[in-house]
Amino acid sequence: MLSAAGIHTFYGNIEALRGVDIDVKQGEIVTLIGANGAGKSTLLMTICGSPRARQGQILFDGVDITSAPTYEIIRMGIAQSPEGRRIFPRMTVLENLQLGSTPIGDDHFDEDVERVFKLFPILKERQEQRGGTLSGGEQQMLAIGRSLMSRPRLLLLDEPSLGLAPLIVKQIFEVIKTINEQEGVTVFLVEQNAYHALRLAHRGYVMANGRILMSGTGQELLANEEIRAAYLEGGH
């Protein structure tokens, strides 16, 4: 479904991605783990065309999206819940969700909003509240909910567990599983919480210094000694 080959991305003169290859197949949950600054978020943003890859090719359903404008990439069926959640702070929860449905218009809005409220009941109670007044966990739920409003076929999630209480992390991972299994949404999940992510995912990639170090099924990576030492038992 998504395949990136030989991706090089720069911030100014700094090379953040140094030739990254990844593949995500229809129906999978694929996770990308790695330390801070490895280039995980940069990869997600490069898939969405902002910043653009300087070298390499990104295909989505066989269509070359490497140099397509961001809004067109999104309209093809990719949604991203980005690093830092980026809720619109001065808009209500409902307006944030409405913006999420931009790529497909308002036709299915009521139906889709009910779906999101079912996944995250707290958002229903908060619907008239401004985004900036929500707690961190609620903002994360809103960010994921907002990205689901466009009925994406591929969902890119950037560190949905960051800074959240364990109970909420558990809830969010449950939801990711639900949308993958019940709605058939393909998920590409970036995480520092490697243990949870690898247990949830079908496959995983490990990234460091802008390169993919390793890949394999979730179970394989969980069992790998190096990974255990670096990402599971170490300071992370």
Binding site: S50, T102, G132, R146
Partner: protein, 308 residues
């Protein structure tokens, strides 16, 4: 005479009319600042071009024999908004979009350059002489009379106030309720995130310039109707005063721009009425200085709710 209520009321009407012009222009400053964080110093020139397109439309309609005033006004209003919108769109497309992502100073200096360019462009095309126009409206209603002093509200003033009110309500609703308005507010708060949601940010910015130009063009039409004479330089002073209004109200805030416009209009009218006409601009700009010193966020400038 100056102490009477009638005199006061007269200044209030004058000030409100003037405030309508400033408010309509100020909205353009505030919308553009909100969405791309840039002061579009050529916006006053867009207002001036609106006034010129209005006078040209009136002359063409006169020559074509369309003299029924409501129809003529409607046609002029639509044509002016349409053609000025094209200027606003082109300005953004040609001068500002290529500079997106460069330091703010580059865009600012370009805006000043475009302002000078547009002034000279109109001067070359239309000559530097004043362009007078016959009054379109006449008459009015008498509100009050005492001794020799008559306070009247002319049909022109009624037209200006109601047109401004309608436009402000319509545009506020566009911003608050429509998907375009939502996209504009999203771009204002986080442009990168807006594009990640499938919003065409460039198009949204273009439409913001178009909206600002339309409102400024109506201000140009009002100016023409109210004063009956225009020249290529009217955009400068009106533009700077509308900018003052936008800052006074809180730059980036839509209700702030309207309120600021009204206040600047009233301050100018009352200053002229009670003190001296010569220093009315000093009064208006004195306000700008005071606001910048004591309340840089303006009257309705929004305190940001930041992310937790």
């Amino acid at each position: 005479m100056q102490g009477s209520f009638e005199y006061f009321l007269d200044q209030l009407i004058n000030g409100t009319t003037l405030g309508a012009v400033y408010g309509l222009i100020a909205i353009g400053y505030t919308l553009v600042y909100g969405i791309i964080g840039m002061i579009n110093f050529a916006h006053g020139e867009i207002f001036m071009i609106g006034a010129f397109i209005s006078i040209i439309c009136f002359l063409i309609l006169g020559a074509a024999g369309i003299t029924w005033i409501p129809l003529a006004l409607l046609i002029v209003l639509i044509m002016t908004m349409l053609f000025t919108a094209i200027y606003g769109w082109t300005l953004e497309r040609v001068a500002y979009r290529p500079l997106r992502g460069t330091p703010r100073l580059a865009a600012l200096i370009t805006a000043i350059g475009m302002s000078i360019f547009l002034q000279n462009y109109v001067q070359l095309l239309q000559s530097a002489r004043n362009k007078p126009m016959q009054p379109v409206f006449s008459g009015g209603i008498e509100l009050m009379q005492s001794n020799d002093y008559i306070v009247s509200l002319s049909y022109l003033q009624m037209f200006i106030m109601s047109l401004t009110l309608v436009l402000m309500i319509v545009f506020s609703l566009v911003i608050a309720r429509t998907s375009l308005g939502r996209a504009q507010r999203a771009c204002e708060q986080d442009r990168g995130m807006a594009s990640l949601l499938g919003i065409n940010v460039d198009r949204t910015i273009s439409l913001t310039f178009v909206m600002g130009a339309m409102l400024a063009s109506v201000a140009g039409l009002i100016f023409l109707l109210n004063y009956g004479v225009i020249d290529f330089f009217i955009g400068f002073l009106a533009g700077v005063k509308a900018f003052t209004a936008a800052v006074l109200g809180g730059i980036g805030s839509l209700p702030g721009a309207m309120l600021g416009g009204l206040l600047i209009g009233l301050i100018e009218a009352f200053w002229s009425g009670y003190f001296t006409v010569e220093y009315k601009d000093v009064a208006a700009f004195g306000i700008l200085v005071l606001v910048l010193i004591f309340r840089p966020t303006g009257l309705l400038g929004k305190p940001d709710i930041e992310k937790v």
